[in-house]
């Protein structure tokens, strides 16, 4: 009892879920810095101020400070609040996703409309990515669904889930199939952990497979009807990426380029070569500080470093599950499991992509990749996890 009360009085009652993510964030900052150094040479001209050259790192540090603040704040909010307001957050999340389709509110980069641009004095344009927050909201929603609702077919449950699906469709149309799939996996995974019947889950999976096939092949079929061979269709890039994954070296001139470059970077790392900041291939990686940060880590720290990062990720996931088993409420248990799924699956997919096991999708590596919205959402999620820990027995 004594230990318990001492714990609940602490700022973070579950220390591993504070220190491990912080360590990963710091590792991320180090390698984002390394990528920024590489980019100075890449841009061909010296940037006017260090602030422009290292903007990514500076912004990430700010977001990290913000995230830590949010974490300590949310650690003190009772989980009942989240359980009660899950529906509200779902509505808000879907609305923010739909706002992206209103021209003028959103910002497009590389033909993807994923960001809300927010002008902040002194920092320029700060980009917010609602789909990152939607991951957290998904955790809330399914935790609520499987902890509060008694009947599956209630109006709230069906209506909310339909809204959730609308959000996923919105994300897929950004287009961001990777995030959409991850969110589906987190949702379905939580349903599984929440005790959904296996038969229903199987039916859902079959439907999901059909939906994914539809998303992949519909543009191809449309193009074929117009008489274009599928290799040349712009809209068929998803299928092309999957084909390229099978043999990236064959497609290295176009779709397979990123994969080949990433594999070269990872392979250059060797067992424990190079050294931090010494990477060469990082300059050739697209979005090296973000989607492909793992390749940079692998190049600069070798096999030892890569395994370390994977192990740290594994520890975070383990502690999320462990927290889930200790939670005093079912909602808390499901939030913990949801975080584990979210962090674990993101890390698996991101690293799998970087080392050529999965096709190219734009998912960040949790805590490590540059990206404020993702970091803030994760930190908020961990803050709630701390609240769950505070309430445990």
């Amino acid at each position: 009892m004594a230990t318990h009360s001492a714990r609940s009085g602490a700022l973070f009652p579950y220390p591993p879920l504070f220190w491990l993510p912080l360590l990963l964030c710091l590792i991320g900052l180090v390698f984002q810095f390394s990528v920024c150094i590489g980019d100075i040479l890449k841009s061909g001209a010296t940037p006017p101020t260090p602030l422009t050259a290292f903007r990514v790192v500076m912004m990430q540090s700010l977001w990290l400070a913000l995230g830590l603040g949010a974490m300590s704040l949310l650690a003190r909010v009772p989980t009942r609040f989240w359980q009660a307001s899950a529906g509200f957050w779902l509505v808000l999340g879907v609305l923010s996703l739909l706002v992206l389709f209103v021209p003028g509110f959103s910002k497009s980069i590389n033909y993807a409309t994923r960001w809300l641009a927010l002008p902040v004095p002194g920092l320029g344009q700060v980009l917010l990515q609602p789909s990152e927050a939607f991951k957290l909201i998904t955790v809330f929603w399914f935790a609520w669904l499987y902890s509060t609702q008694k009947r599956v077919w209630s109006l709230w449950a069906v209506g909310g889930t339909a809204l959730w699906l609308l959000g996923i469709v919105a994300i897929e149309r950004q287009p961001d199939l990777g995030t959409a799939l991850l969110i589906i996996m987190v949702g379905v995974g939580l349903a599984y952990l929440g005790g959904a019947r296996l038969s229903r889950l199987m039916a859902l999976m079959v439907a999901g497979v059909f939906a994914v096939a539809l998303v992949l092949f519909l543009p191809v079929v449309k193009g074929m009807l117009k008489g274009e061979p599928w290799e040349q269709q712009r809209t068929a890039y998803r299928l092309q990426r999957i084909i390229a994954m099978m043999d990236p070296w064959k497609h290295q001139q176009d779709v397979g380029y990123q994969m080949v470059r990433a594999q070269l970077a990872v392979g250059s790392g060797g067992f424990a070569r190079l050294g931090i900041g010494e990477g060469r291939e990082k300059r050739y990686l697209p979005a090296a500080e973000n989607d492909y940060i793992f390749a940079t880590i692998a190049e600069e720290t070798g096999f030892v470093g890569s395994i370390t990062v994977i192990a740290l990720m594994g520890l975070v996931v383990y502690h999320c599950f462990r927290l889930a088993t200790q939670a005093s409420t079912r909602f808390g248990q499901l939030v913990g499991s949801g975080l584990a799924l979210w962090i674990g699956l993101s890390a698996l997919i991101n690293i799998g992509m970087a080392i050529g096991l999965l096709p190219t999708v734009g998912l960040p590596l949790p805590f490590v990749s540059a990206g404020g919205s993702a970091l803030l959402s994760l930190m908020a999620g961990l803050g709630i996890a701390q609240a769950v820990a505070r309430e445990r027995g």
Partner: protein, 614 residues
């Protein structure tokens, strides 16, 4: 969970099913992690060496460091040609998302038609090309703002992948002066081995070894965008810039020669024309102007033929005609075969063997010059008397004139396309040796270059000493040919006096210059037919003059091939000569020393026998 203390406060009992499912999900993730670790081991341990080699090979580049080609200056150091660094602007068409925007942006900086560029970009993009040369050799003032704008954009927001390749280019501050002497260059090579300027004619080609320089190389790994990663540079050989060349040309004189030829061109529309100015004491070529001509910067007129780049001074063979006579007379005086006051009779024609040679060249019908002195022979340009003098020298003697005055063979000068003057060797001539002697004596039956003839007149102006013509002052040649005395100064003065007569009273009156003594000789040669004989009605009009005759400063030759509106050397070439000579006197501030405006003292010995002081 087993180790948990029993007294813990748990309001929720963990369901067995939940725990099992959590374990299953966790197990799946561990399995995924296992896959990752296996794959990492494959990439970073098994294939590491291979992949690292591939990556290094891809990043490895050898980059040329361009050498600057030396500049070409006139004698006062004014630039005729110099090297600047320009840029080829290239883009990756596949990276263009909005061809119209990109085309408009590029053409705004580089010039050109945006619609055409857009079309090209679309075509190349459709073909999957990754390289498109948007603009060749764009100057820095166009490229710098373009790059500044481009680099100001964040990497991912750039509308196109753009690159520049440094290329050397020639800049011509005086592109219309002496283009045939300067010559052109062509851009050769490619990005990886280094661009260089290959010479095309003129001094550029003749002095290639001095001007060219040598490209250097740097080898290392490159970052995207093309910059070398500093810590990876393994080898660097610095470029050796070419040395500059200082010519003997004087741009002011060159310009006056060009202007004089413009006048001549307007008035007589010849096929081609030449003006040549030589300093007789050094052999320096002060001006070489040619028509037709071009502009080095715009290369106007070079699309169809290379003719405007032809340097007639060395790349043109013609029969000199009467202009050879002073040389024959001078050599006869030198050999003592002709005395100063000896009378030569001209009855209008003379029989040589079975042929007759007449003084019919000027004035239409046959005209007898009567009794003349040597000086008057030159003034009258009398064929009959020259033939007699030639016959005294004999065939070998006249051939010796050609050799001693360096008319035959190739003139050694730093130019390309130098023609070789020629005449049959006396030993090869079996029949008609006498008529050949007479013909040679008044300039028929031999082909020489205008430069050789001008240089031989410089002997007369330089007190009988031959100076080989020179075009390059710096770098100075390793071995200088010694000055070679050909005539005695007295005989030179005698011939000059005759040439002053020729200008004052004879065929070259148009060359007279108020205030100065001018010596000069006209030539009106029929064009030789390559198949033998002469082409009727086609002439080469020429004039070679020395100014001022009392203290020679310059030898000027003007030549017009097939002029219209008259064909005599005195009427076509002499005015151009006078124009150049007048400019020279003003330019060099030569004080006029002749008070009587036009008439010549009967024996102008006062000036000819004064020792040279200046």
């Amino acid at each position: 969970m087993k180790g948990r203390p029993q007294n813990s406060v748990r309001t929720l009992k963990l369901r067995q099913q939940d725990l099992a499912r959590m374990r299953f999900a966790g197990g799946l993730m561990v399995l995924g992690g296992g896959f990752l670790c296996t794959r990492l081991a494959q990439l970073q341990i098994v294939q590491a060496k291979e992949l690292r080699h591939i990556a290094e090979r891809r990043r490895w580049r050898g980059r040329p460091l361009l050498a600057l080609r030396g500049a070409i200056y006139d004698r006062h150091g004014k630039p005729l040609a110099r090297t600047v660094m320009n840029y080829h602007v290239v883009i990756d068409p596949a990276s263009v998302q909005e061809p119209w925007q990109v085309a408009r942006w590029l053409t705004r900086h580089l010039g050109g038609n945006p619609k055409e560029l857009e079309q090209t970009i679309r075509e190349r993009k459709a073909r999957g090309a990754r390289y498109l040369l948007v603009k060749r050799s764009a100057p820095p003032h166009q490229v710098d703002p373009l790059l500044k704008e481009y680099r100001a954009l964040p990497f991912r927001e750039r509308p196109v992948i753009l690159d520049t390749e440094q290329v050397p280019a020639r800049e011509y501050p005086h592109s219309q002066l002496a283009p045939q002497v300067v010559g052109l260059t062509r851009l050769e090579g490619e990005r990886d081995e280094g661009f260089r300027l290959a010479p095309q004619g003129g001094v550029e080609e003749a002095m290639e070894a001095v001007l060219a320089g040598e490209n250097g190389i740097v080898q290392g790994e490159v970052a995207p965008g093309g910059l070398m990663i500093p810590e990876t540079i393994l080898q660097r050989t610095l470029p050796k810039d070419g040395r500059s060349v200082r010519l003997t040309l004087d741009l002011a004189i060159q310009e006056s020669a060009e202007l004089a030829l413009d006048e001549l061109w307007k008035r007589h529309r010849p096929l081609r024309a030449l003006a040549l100015v030589i300093d007789p004491h050094t052999g320096d070529l002060l001006a070489v102007a040619n028509r037709p001509t071009t502009d080095l910067a715009t290369r106007k007129g070079l699309e169809k033929s290379w003719e405007p780049m032809r340097n007639l001074a060395v790349n043109f063979l013609y029969e000199p005609g009467s202009t050879i006579k002073p040389l024959v007379v001078a050599w006869a005086l030198e050999r003592g075969l002709v005395r100063l006051n000896e009378p030569f009779r001209c009855a209008g024609s003379i029989a040589i063997g079975r042929r007759r040679v007449g003084c019919s060249a000027h004035g239409g019908g046959r005209k007898a010059h009567g009794t003349q002195t040597v000086e008057e022979v030159l003034a009258n340009s009398c064929n009959v008397a020259t033939a007699q003098i030639g016959l005294r020298l004999s065939l070998e003697g006249v051939y010796a004139v050609f050799e001693r005055f360096h008319l035959l063979g190739r003139t050694e000068i730093n130019l390309t396309g130098v023609e070789r003057g020629y005449a049959l060797k006396p030993s090869e001539i079996r029949y008609g040796r006498e008529i050949r002697t007479a013909n040679w004596a008044f300039g028929q039956g031999l082909m020489i270059t205008p430069l050789a003839l001008t240089a031989s007149y410089a002997i007369l102006a330089n007190e009988g000493v031959y100076r080989p013509p020179r075009l390059v002052i710096e770098p100075a040649p390793v071995a200088v040919r010694p000055a070679e005395p050909v005539l005695s100064p007295e005989n030179c003065r005698t011939v000059l006096r005759g040439l002053v007569h020729a200008v004052e009273e004879g065929t070259g009156k148009e060359a007279r210059l108020p205030g100065y003594w001018v010596a000069g000789k006209t030539g009106t040669a029929q064009k030789a037919n390559p198949k033998g004989g002469y082409i009727k009605g086609r002439y080469i009009a020429s004039f070679v003059g020395i100014v001022p005759a009392d203290r020679p400063r310059a030898v000027i030759m003007v030549l017009a091939d097939e002029p219209t509106n008259g064909y005599y050397g005195g009427e076509v070439a002499a005015p151009a000569f006078r124009q150049i000579a007048q400019f020279l006197m003003w330019y060099w501030k030569v004080p006029p020393n002749r008070t009587t405006a036009t008439t010549l003292p009967r024996r102008p010995e006062r000036w000819t026998n004064e020792p040279r002081t200046g």
